[in-house]
Symmetry: C2
Subunit: 608 residues, 2 copies
């Protein structure tokens, strides 16, 4: 061992001990005949004192930043104590030292506020990983991993490894494929998730399974997506939705406790998908704050069970509202005194291409009880008051109203809500609010193919009482314009998402376990018998031999860690991430391969 102690552990109680430390030179400070060196390792920083007698040696072997140094000496009490670090009471009076390795000058500083840009830090990721900010993230990631495993172990779950070289069955996302040298012309696929395997394990009787496992999706990368990512993947047999919800809110609470010291004792709030869409404009609402939507106008075809408040805006001749498919409002607390400049700036904000609205209507609910709006020409103060009250606005609030096409307006108000909360400091990093979103639609409509696609995945079960609707109706959509009237449009899934602070951190469902229903589902997605058999014959076969009722969930491990770490970027929580072009710039991968490899794999390039 090159050291007797780490750079983070010596205290005042260790005084007079002879110790050997090894680590990296953080700083070198000369004061006349003596030199101070801050030595850093994973555990902390310890000050080394090189006295006069060692100075000659130091002059012959000058230390630089990031040199690897081993030093032996005696622990002394410091005269100038540093209360900011745990070893700040002591220093090592060095008696001998050895330079274990030299370092070139790093391309950026190894500090929290580094001067290195993103690209440079990714290229030299091995240096970036030395920074305390990154180290803290990886430590948190390990703590989450460990907390999840410990909870699941206690609950009788078994970690069972599923294969990585499987069969390509693209449904939705693209597979990464791997040419097989031993089976020329054939390919493995990397798993997008262990979905079918965990279901087979349920059929096999392993009634509580988990895995912390890499998954792969060959998608065009949006910001903060990675082609390989990690899931906490779980499945249970002989359970209903309620059992899964309880089990896994328990897991997340246990992670909060173990990793953040937070006692999350309250029951996790639950919301139907329809309520989430209706009240927040999206299916992963941030409920750390309210500002729920006022649905002033909705198209007749969507959220059929909900009635809008169009009477509040109709009949005044305001064409913007009259012509809009959808009109939505939120009440922003305490912003009634926004200046013209501020409301103009907000208007520009919603007109940005990412949001895409044509304008913004506002109502100021003045503290003196009067109302002032950007549409005073069309709406009397009484009408403004009625709208504001319907939006739950109080005196001093600012009501913001967007109008336009249904989906775009809903997304826009949803973004605006988050933006205003951000500006008001309502999205606190250290406040955590969980939410279950339930009762998703089982199907989504695919316009291009005039057919159904599975909203979650093709293994998700409908609500038990809707199984017969599914079995007894033909999935074919005769009239594309009226697809919402097809019985399948109203089938709700036995599916659930867990949302944390406005991010989906996990999702799952109760699965289909009856062959007939699974075949109906595949048929609904446009798969004929032959394709079903080719792609999922093993699963349909398994359902013939006593498949139990089962369900599960998968958590996005990278995202969960990021949110717990107070960040929105998963890249900061991955040791060796890829950039947005799917490249590892440190390795310079992907890269060309040798002719011999093409030869052996019996493939060649076919570049367009």
């Amino acid at each position: 061992m090159y050291r007797s102690n780490t750079c983070g552990e010596l205290r005042i109680t260790d005084i007079s001990k002879e110790v050997t430390l090894a680590g990296w030179v953080q700083t070198v400070r000369k004061f006349g005949a003596i030199t101070f060196v801050d030595l850093r390792d994973r555990y902390g920083i310890t000050q080394l004192l090189f006295g006069e007698e060692l100075n000659k040696q130091l002059e012959e072997n000058p230390l630089g930043r990031e040199f690897v140094l081993q030093a032996t000496g005696v622990v002394n009490e410091r005269s100038n104590k540093n209360p900011n670090i745990s070893t700040g009471d002591i220093e090592i009076n060095v008696q001998s030292f050895s330079i274990l390795n030299r370092s070139a000058v790093p391309p950026f500083t190894i500090q929290d506020d580094t001067d290195g840009g993103d690209d440079l830090r990714m290229k030299y990721r091995f240096l970036d990983l030395r920074r305390n900010a990154v180290k803290k993230n990886l430590e948190l990631r390990y703590a989450v991993n460990r907390a999840a495993r410990n909870y699941l172990h206690k609950k009788g779950f078994m970690d069972i490894e599923t294969p990585f070289l499987i069969k390509s069955t693209p449904e939705g996302a693209r597979d990464f494929v791997v040419p097989s040298r031993m089976n020329p012309g054939q390919f493995y696929a990397l798993p997008q998730s262990p979905q079918t395997f965990k279901q087979l394990l349920m059929v096999s009787g392993y009634d509580r399974y988990y895995q912390v496992v890499k998954c792969f999706r060959d998608e065009d990368l949006r910001a903060d997506r990675q082609p390989e990512f990690t899931q906490i993947d779980c499945e249970m047999a002989f359970v209903e939705q309620e059992d899964i919800l309880n089990m896994f809110e328990g897991m997340v609470k246990s992670i909060f406790k173990d990793v953040k010291g937070i006692d999350y004792t309250e029951k996790v709030h639950r919301m139907t998908w329809e309520d989430a869409m209706w009240n927040f404009g999206n299916d992963k609402p941030d409920i750390r704050f309210d500002m729920s939507l006022l649905n002033l106008k909705k198209p007749a075809s969507v959220y059929v069970s909900k009635g809008d408040r169009s009477s509040l805006i109709n009949g005044t001749g305001f064409k913007v509202f009259d012509d809009a498919e959808t009109v939505l409002a939120i009440a922003v607390p305490g912003c009634s005194e926004y200046s013209r400049k501020q409301t103009d700036e907000l208007t520009e904000w919603v007109k940005r291409p990412q949001i895409g609205m044509k304008g913004l209507v506002f109502i100021k609910c003045n503290t003196d009880g009067t109302y002032k709006s950007s549409v005073d020409k069309f709406y009397s103060e009484e009408k403004l008051k009625a709208i504001a009250e319907a939006a739950n606005a109080k005196a001093g609030d600012l009501v913001l109203i967007l109008a336009g096409a249904e989906e775009r307006t809903r997304k826009a108000i949803s973004e605006l809500r988050l933006e205003m909360a951000e500006r008001l400091g309502l999205r606190k990093k250290e406040e955590f609010r969980l939410l279950w979103v339930l009762d998703f639609p089982l199907f989504e409509y695919d316009e291009e193919g005039n057919r159904w696609v599975a909203r979650h995945h093709p293994f998700t079960s409908p609500k038990p009482e809707q199984i017969s609707t599914m079995i007894n109706n033909n999935p074919v959509i005769e009239n594309a314009a009226e697809y919402l009237k097809h019985p399948y449009a109203n089938i709700k899934a036995n599916a659930y998402d867990m949302v944390l602070n406005g991010n989906e951190i996990g999702g799952g469902s109760i699965r289909i376990y009856q062959r007939e229903l699974q075949e109906k589902m595949f048929a609904a997605l446009g798969m004929d018998k032959e394709e079903q058999q080719h792609k999922f014959g093993f699963l349909l076969g398994a359902f013939e031999y006593g498949a139990p009722p089962h369900g599960g969930i998968a958590f996005g491990f990278d995202r969960l860690c990021a949110i717990l770490g107070g960040s929105e970027s998963i890249r900061d929580f991955i040791a060796f991430p890829k950039n947005n072009a799917g490249r590892d710039v440190m390795l310079d991968a992907p890269a060309t391969i040798d002719d011999k490899q093409f030869d052996e794999l019996q493939i060649k390039l076919d570049l367009k």
Copy 2:
């Protein structure tokens, strides 16, 4: 929840409780008006009793093997107790039941002594996994996983995930490659191990790293090799070989304790590679028993530090020995009374093509003190006695002697030693003996290329005292015939293998951490500067910025589990293994992919 209890937990103390169980029908036995059903789940088997009043229902809904059944009833004391199962004191007097799913008749019985052949069981792996024999293996695997993690966590190791989509740098084994759609013409590779990443993590200061991680090698599969396999992968910084040996024999002992309840208190035995080869004929000797080799004759060029006992066999005119490069013997205890038939059978055994010897010489050390051999014509009883004594044979033992070319003879005697031990019952499944094999040669000679290859891998450090030999000599081999005289032939690696009962379960090394030495190593392996930079530029770069001394080890997790489970087949310990052609016969993978996939990846087939 479909059950209140599992099928393994009810006891006599639960009598009179109303319970609901769910599981699979193992057996149905009718006795007149009553029916007994054994219901099975992951936790055990519980007997269900269906009384007269339920018989009608049962007749309408007959139960079959592997049906999924939910039954509610009252726990009763059994009249005929079954001491063989933990629930054998009780049965459930069923009040109501529900068939949750039916099952076709399974293609083989779900029992320890199944009637299913290997191929059938692989095709229906989801049924095979129901068998207790397989379940026990996966449970053991999970227990080993957990024990290893717990030990490493306690020792301050961090689980850090390394990427799966990396760069192809084939050295020795072939990479699986993955075409990149976003970077046409370029490929990722799947990692053969996280070797370079864990070294980078050491450079980054994460001084104790571990991972239980999938690795991939595209090799022609020998029996019991898998294209994807799992390693317990570990690395430490600021350590010397001794630190690693202590840390990881600690880990294996901790696994013994946690998983098998075995206190392995003695220090793990250590042996140099040369001693292992000399005394046992291979580098992973099974030391549960002795029977070490007598080196009667060796070629002058190998194991130069060892002197053979050729004086014992020379000068008698026995051409078989005189013409042989190598003559090796073992003394088999208690077999002096082998009949002619038995020695003939042994002779046939060594002549099989897998062993490949031309014949077998034996000396019977009779209990009356006389000696009898198959070469009495050439060797006097006195000479036979001298040989037998040199082989440590006692009265009653049988000395077996093989002669031939060096490598083949060494392998043959090594196999013969294991075979005789097997026959004598000396390879006990429940006896575990660990061994460290040390001081491997750093290089092996590659005849075809007349160059060096790395015996372990190109990142393994030579012994500290031999670094200068490596730096100061030209690796080029001028005279192929005399390669053993090249200074590189004698360089020993700072490498170590852990051997358990004759199987290598782990191997590792102290790594090179100096750029100059690493470049010299790459050069010795025939890589020019350009190739070094293309393949390993990131690592050489990292070594410029303060790389600490470090080393590590990787355990073959599948094999470790198999040996602990008393099996030599890793396939039995993998949930979804591939066959010897690299195929998953259940999934029918690998398989063809769609034209669209070829199109997007911009590759095409080039079948020979």
